[in-house]
């Protein structure tokens, strides 16, 4: 067994060592040209179309207001950040949105795992087909699908009509729609198929023969899952969690459609400052705080889970 890999050293080190680089010195990776061929397109694209816009928005957050030419130099001010710090409802909303996002991500990932497991080990050759089948509904306009849901869950909708005609309730249940719970349920429902994807990709690494070996050693199905499958699929679980958590902090469409007045999230506030108030500087400040806060949370979280060990295994 090649002990180098187990000690957490990457492919580049192994290759360089084999090419004869001296021990101890920082080895040169012989795949230099491929590296740059792979690195340049994404780096260029991201710099031009992500970093530049972000820098612009960060700069905008220090601008007093929108008057004057947008790209002209201006005297920076901290007034928007100060105002944000002084506005408790906004900070509370950010906290609540982050908590909501944590809950949605955890639930969606947990509910997505059995789905990914089924596709990886039970669906056989139909897995790809089933996968696409799961995602195809998302090509229908979200607006229209939610309209259909609202038809079912509204005060005089199908669900309530059925419950009332069956005598189970006397008055329509208002709690199905237009509140925070409706937002959470809808978000989880929408994210499950997507969260399954990275988990599925990671489960693909699990060799079925490992399951056989575990069975040979008289492991129960649960033990086999806990000690073989789950650890190997962990990178996928983490990827899924991040994939759901990060965008949900800034989510605004679902709260707008089904949240009513009590389901407003931080993303709605940012959205409003751009599309209702034309207050781009303040909106940018709010967005920057969310960005830094979320990335900070993710950095802390990843440090706890120690991905270095996972990435170099």
């Amino acid at each position: 067994m090649d002990g180098d890999v187990g000690r957490g050293q990457g492919l580049s080190v192994i290759l360089a060592r084999r090419a004869g680089a001296p021990q101890g010195a920082r080895p040169a990776d012989p795949r230099r040209r491929t590296f740059w061929a792979l690195a340049l397109p994404p780096a260029l694209g991201l710099t031009l179309f992500l970093v530049a816009p972000l820098l612009f928005m960060a700069a905008l957050s220090f601008r007093t207001d929108l008057s004057g030419t947008l790209l002209a130099p201006f005297a920076p001010t901290l007034k928007h950040y100060a105002q944000l710090a002084a506005t408790t409802p906004f900070l509370r909303s950010l906290g609540l949105s982050a908590l909501t996002a944590l809950g949605v991500a955890a639930t969606a990932t947990a509910l997505a795992y059995p789905l990914a497991y089924y596709l990886a080990f039970r669906a056989g050759r139909r897995a790809a087909f089933y996968l696409v089948l799961l995602l195809v509904p998302f090509w229908t306009s979200y607006l229209l699908r939610v309209m259909a849901w609202k038809l079912m869950l509204g005060g005089e909708g199908v669900v309530n009509s059925l419950l009332m005609s069956a005598g189970i309730v006397e008055e329509p249940i208002a709690a199905l729609l237009y509140n925070r719970a409706a937002v959470i349920v809808t978000l989880v429902y929408v994210w499950i198929p997507f969260a399954a994807l990275p988990i599925l990709a990671a489960l693909g690494r699990v060799d079925v023969r490992l399951h056989e070996a575990a069975a040979d050693l008289y492991a129960t199905p649960f033990q086999q899952f806990r000690r073989v499958t789950l650890p190997l699929s962990l990178p996928g679980v983490i990827a899924a969690f991040l994939m759901v958590f990060i965008p949900t902090v800034g989510e605004y469409v679902t709260p707008l459609l089904v949240g009513g007045t009590s389901g407003t999230m931080y993303g709605n506030i940012i959205q409003d400052f751009f599309t209702r108030a034309a207050n781009w500087p303040y909106g940018s400040a709010l967005a920057m705080v969310m960005l830094v806060g979320t990335l900070g949370l993710v950095a802390v979280g990843l440090r706890l889970v120690n991905p270095r060990r996972l990435l170099e295994r």
């Binding site: 491929t34 792979l38 050759r125 229908t140 259909a148 198929p193 990671a202 690494r205 990435l311």
Partner: protein
């Protein structure tokens, strides 16, 4: 080991009988939940109702007829398909590149690249849209479906990267080492060893990127110029109560065509 029979697939199945049924039912339950609103839309698309309200007013195929008579609608759908196909291909390619870089190479900017690739997830679309609008205008780039496509590649990149990365991470580099030991250059190794391994993840990534682009509204609204994509067109038409049934018919038709397409693909594959 020779005393006991090698475990066969049947025996494996037997040890997990009840769980197998449970997993399958779970999958189909979810499929049912996902397709339920679409079934409702389907029902309304073949009924004479002009609003989404019961009772049903009688069977009609008028809405589908009208659909084909509305050139602006058909153009919008074509625009969306075009943008989605190209941006999803680009996003998958770029995402795969980043995933390979992160899982197979050691370099100093690793953390930065990871952060950058994930960052579009946290940037609100309205922020990105406004910034790209101002920057494109300043650079004299005319707004068009290309500008929308670029934005879609950026926002789909985190998804494609994460999915392919989850597949490649920890996948023993031994196979690649072996290939290179046998004299293959790294590009050849990538092509013949890594890509086939990553193929299922690439498919997932592509479908995800397509999904992200096809129903995307906020960025398309800012960056589309004179050619609206379908979500933008839809949102505009929703102001007119009378156009709702035709829009629903369009959505249902798209859905049915796609389902047919993948069913046919599956049939072909099974042969």
């Amino acid at each position: 080991m020779t005393a006991t029979a090698r475990p066969t697939a049947a025996r494996l199945v037997a040890t997990r009988g009840p769980r197998r049924r449970w997993l399958g039912s779970y999958f189909w339950l979810l499929i049912g939940a996902l397709y339920l609103p679409i079934s409702i839309l389907f029902v309304f698309s073949i009924n004479a109702n002009t609003t989404l309200a019961f009772p049903l007013k009688g069977f009609t195929l008028d809405w589908y007829e009208q659909l084909f008579d509305t050139p602006a609608l058909l153009r919008a759908v074509r625009n969306s398909l075009g943008v989605a196909v190209w941006s999803s291909l680009a996003a998958t390619a770029l995402g795969a590149m980043v995933a390979i870089l992160l899982s197979r190479f050691d370099f100093r900017g690793k953390g930065a690249l990871t952060g950058l690739a994930i960052m579009p997830l946290i940037v609100p679309y309205v922020v990105l849209g406004v910034a790209l609008l101002v920057l494109f205008k300043a650079a004299g780039v005319p707004l068009s479906l290309v500008t929308v496509g670029i934005a879609h590649v950026i926002v789909a990149l985190p998804y494609t990267t994460l999915i392919v990365l989850a597949r490649l991470v920890g996948f023993d580099a031994q196979l690649e080492e072996a290939a290179m030991d046998l004299g293959a250059s790294y590009p050849t190794t990538l092509r013949l060893v890594v890509l086939p391994i990553a193929a299922p993840a690439l498919l997932s990534a592509w479908v995800t990127a397509f999904t992200v682009s096809f129903d995307e509204f906020a960025l398309a609204l800012f960056l589309a110029g004179r050619d609206p994509t379908f979500p933008v067109y839809l949102y505009g038409q929703l102001r007119f109560a009378t156009t709702l049934p035709v829009l629903i018919a369009t959505a249902v038709l798209l859905m049915l065509s796609t389902l047919t397409l993948i069913l046919v693909t599956e049939r072909i594959r099974r042969r």
